[in-house]
Amino acid sequence: MKDEQTSIPTSKVQRATRFLKTGAKVGGNYLKHYGKKMFDSELSRDQLDNDNAADIYDSLSELKGSALKIAQMLSMDKNVLPTAYQDKFAMSQYSAPPLSYPLVVQTFRKYLGKTPDDLFETFTKNAVNAASIGQVHKATLDGKTLAVKIQYPGVADSISSDLKIVRPIASRMFKIGTAELEQYIGEVESKLIEETDYSLELKRSMEITGLCGHLEGIKFPTYYPELSSDRILVMDWINGLHIKEWLATNPSQEQKNEIGQRLWDFYDFQIHSLKQVHADPHPGNFMITDDNKLGIIDFGCVKEIPEDFYEQYFKLMKDDVLNPDYNLKDLFFELGFLSDKDTEKEKAFYLEIFTEMIELLGRPFRSKTFDFGDDTYFKQIFEVGDRVSKMKEIRNSKTARGNRHGLYINRTYFGLYNLLNELKAEVITS
């Protein structure tokens, strides 16, 4: 497991450098392009796009071995690639230099008609934090400390064009038909575009935090619609420690279980009652406050779960699916894990693999309590994932398996499992 983990670029910095490399190359390609163009105005953009495509391909191939593998295994098909893209696009933003203060002022003028100095009592000239597609400034108003998130200009605009470059490479790289790839990329694209719409994020944040308000021990910031717009989002500043920092203060096992339980309940309530979920369980989005509450921010990525998908998907987590007389095959057909085009041999092969994975990944749901601190469980997940991704049947399969709605649900659970593992929490799961 150790080896596996070191090969996975988990830290922001590591991933950022990876994409920085691509970024630098792509930037170089543009320079090369304009350099050549000065002497030869006939030069077409095709050469440029090809150069870019090749470099993005290189970087994605590197990811193929690590981040992708986990994602791959989790979504139980080989089409999790879009998750890798998503990281890629999110990460490529980390390499963007911070916005200059005049641009911050310009953004305020454009969207709110006033400067930060007009609106707030104090406003930090420099960003205090980088968000995935923007940056955060700290401000004060009427005795309250506020977090002001400002989006980089042009991000929303460039997503579709970036994905256009990547599409053909993806289809070559993973040998998947364009139509099948399309539904996954489409899912990711729509989520990415949603993430750039701060007005939508504001609406969702207020809605979900309102509906989750009764959950105990959880703290949400208050949002300020009158100070927000499409590119600016204002909320309370939450003081607290990130999970890693909090763990360094040596909390007791009871405290860890308590935080873990709150995290689990928060997700459980969203998925099963609200049918829409904060689909970005990134460690940076959680904070533990002085009074041991769990602070939760960032509702930029919310997945709404369609009813029929919900029914099918959570059947997988029930106790009885593993009984020998349960008709798993039909359920797999419904979920798209198996297809009519499969040969009998393929059907048998995938039935076995998916059954093994469901047993493993659904295990926390099949007992009353589950100890996420159990590293042997995670080790097993990595081993199975590793073995499956090396199978030539999987690598050469041309069919996409799984359901596009599963993409973000799997990502959510994967993130949640990881957070709980980091907390070493034992949680009441059912």
């Binding site: 230099p97 916005l99 200059s100 203060y101 005049p102 641009l103 002022v105 310009q106 953004t107 003028r109 454009k110 400067t115 100095d117 980089y152 200009p153 042009g154 929303a156 605009d157």
Partner: protein, 221 residues
């Protein structure tokens, strides 16, 4: 009869502003300059010579209009409280962002008149006054940048910094004219990135180290 017309005309005696306005309106509705000053003034029920009191040609009106863009921009940024606290880079950024906002009000006019010169060292007559204003501003900023060591004084090169900033502003205006993004967001990004690059280049950086190393090699060979 003739007297009556003349009387009417003197009554409505045209100011420079009114001529500029009428000219701009003609340009925007017709898509081109009037055939001649005579035709133009006849439309305004005016004698041709009235025109020459203020302007020598249509190009002179264009020059005046462009100059006013620069003047309005500088006035707007200097009236912002935050401006005095800015460093050189931020002052230039503020100028560029504000200029685009100013030009936005007259985008159609800018689109009709702005043609990027084929040879950058040639400045067309209608852009000359605008350049004068901008050069004065950028020299002020450069000087301040040198004072605060944000910008490095280099032999020969530093006297040409403002030429670089001029090319940059031409690039930004033509980028903005081609920009199709919502709210011209891409132009904002273009301004930010290009100004950051030019100030990196004018600041102490690899360039100086390269020159220094080159000089060392040359002297020690």
């Amino acid at each position: 009869m003739e007297k009556a017309v003349k009387k009417k005309a003197t009554k409505a005696s045209l100011s420079a502003v009114a001529i500029m306005k009428a000219y701009k309106k003609h340009l925007l509705t017709e898509g081109s300059q009037p055939k001649s000053v005579f035709v133009f003034m006849e439309h305004l029920n005016e004698e041709e010579e009235e025109f020459y009191k203020y302007f020598s040609s249509f190009e002179a009106i264009d020059a005046e209009l462009w100059k006013s863009f620069a003047e309005r921009t500088i006035k707007a940024i200097k009236s912002d409280k935050a401006y005095n606290g800015y460093g050189a880079r931020e002052k230039m950024l503020a100028f560029l962002f504000t200029l685009v906002e100013v030009l936005k009000k007259d985008r159609s006019y800018v689109k009709l008149t702005f043609k990027r010169p084929d040879k950058p060292e040639l400045v067309p007559a209608w852009l000359r006054d605008f350049k004068k204003e901008f050069d004065a501003f950028s020299m002020e900023v450069i000087e301040e940048g040198i004072g605060s060591e944000e910008i490095v004084k280099r032999p020969i090169l530093s006297e040409r910094y403002y030429d670089g900033l001029w090319l940059q502003i031409l690039f930004i205006i033509s980028f903005w004219l081609k920009d199709t993004s919502k709210g011209f967001e891409r132009t904002d990004a273009a301004i930010e990135k290009s100004a950051n690059l030019s100030f990196e280049l004018m600041g102490r950086g690899p360039l100086d180290l390269m020159l220094d190393f080159g000089k060392f090699l040359y002297q020690n060979r």
